[in-house]
Subunit: 138 residues, 3 copies
Amino acid sequence: MKSYRKELWFNLPTRRGFVNITPDVEKCVKESGIKEGLCLVNAMHITASVFINDDEPGLHHDFEVWLEQLAPEKPYERYRHNGFEDNADAHLKRTIMGREVVVAVTEGKLDLGPWEQIFYGEFDGKRKKRVLVKIIGE
Amino acid sequence: MKSYRKELWFNLPTRRGFVNITPDVEKCVKESGIKEGLCLVNAMHITASVFINDDEPGLHHDFEVWLEQLAPEKPYERYRHNGFEDNADAHLKRTIMGREVVVAVTEGKLDLGPWEQIFYGEFDGKRKKRVLVKIIGE
Amino acid sequence: MKSYRKELWFNLPTRRGFVNITPDVEKCVKESGIKEGLCLVNAMHITASVFINDDEPGLHHDFEVWLEQLAPEKPYERYRHNGFEDNADAHLKRTIMGREVVVAVTEGKLDLGPWEQIFYGEFDGKRKKRVLVKIIGE
């Protein structure tokens, strides 16, 4: 069994944003030399997400509006977590979007459906944060 | 290490619906010959879900009502994604329900709790769609 | 390839609660002898969750308030599932929080980010319930 590990770093200029990391993860699979296995991609921070959906700007706008309805950023005082911090909403938004995805590796490639793209979801940006890619297989 | 891959195909006659796929996934585990490992089951489409919950029609009705409250299908114009399409709500509903499950394989069987059943969740049906089953182990 | 399996048991005195199980899972990784691999941690019950977030009491209070807004416990009659049972809300709350996490194992340890902690989330307690830890790797 082979294993591979890599950290992807991000520093978004905005509080919230989505980054398509599919090419980065595909590159990791290639580097790993693994032909058949499982690829875990997870946010290492608890106010960020890794998720799979469509790379379509209208949908990304819909996600932003929807997440603000389900877990509004303000007023900050609505959350008990916001004593020294102001990012309670980011913890909730990331819970909706998910921490991680597990993707099959088949014949040396990410085994994704036709429209599946892997995204880093940032909900408390303007700082350096990481995604972990771990692949095991043969 | 062994690996196994199979696609399960669906074509639901309705826009939304749940299908219990536990027997299909159990059959995959048997076919794989893998005794100890991990089994990934994921929707290959971004308006569908694979999730684990109870096989109880009352609960499935509750899920339908609840998801419509959290991410209503209509009016279609409420979503920017709905230019040429009308399925933005399906992307959001599937986000709540999740893309994938990872289930342990132990002694050649799915290692599920007493009430755990694996479901395909369709949120934009009336077309052919796929689920990927990938198993690795020994 | 090595594999390891363990059940963690819980019996919370309250209907809802969060338990930090990171030390228990870390102990499993040590016991397994696995240095590089993947660790699946999942609730074996469909009214409970395993999730990763911050070990901060204010945030846990915010989760409780937020989940009650998204999927209220009462009135029980609002859910069709609640014929002989009263726990439909627990099925929905656990759906938001997630069934499982997959964590990388690197150099014999859980490969977690600086604030990542693994929690058991109970939404229908006062009874014995289980979490499954399954680790594969080498």
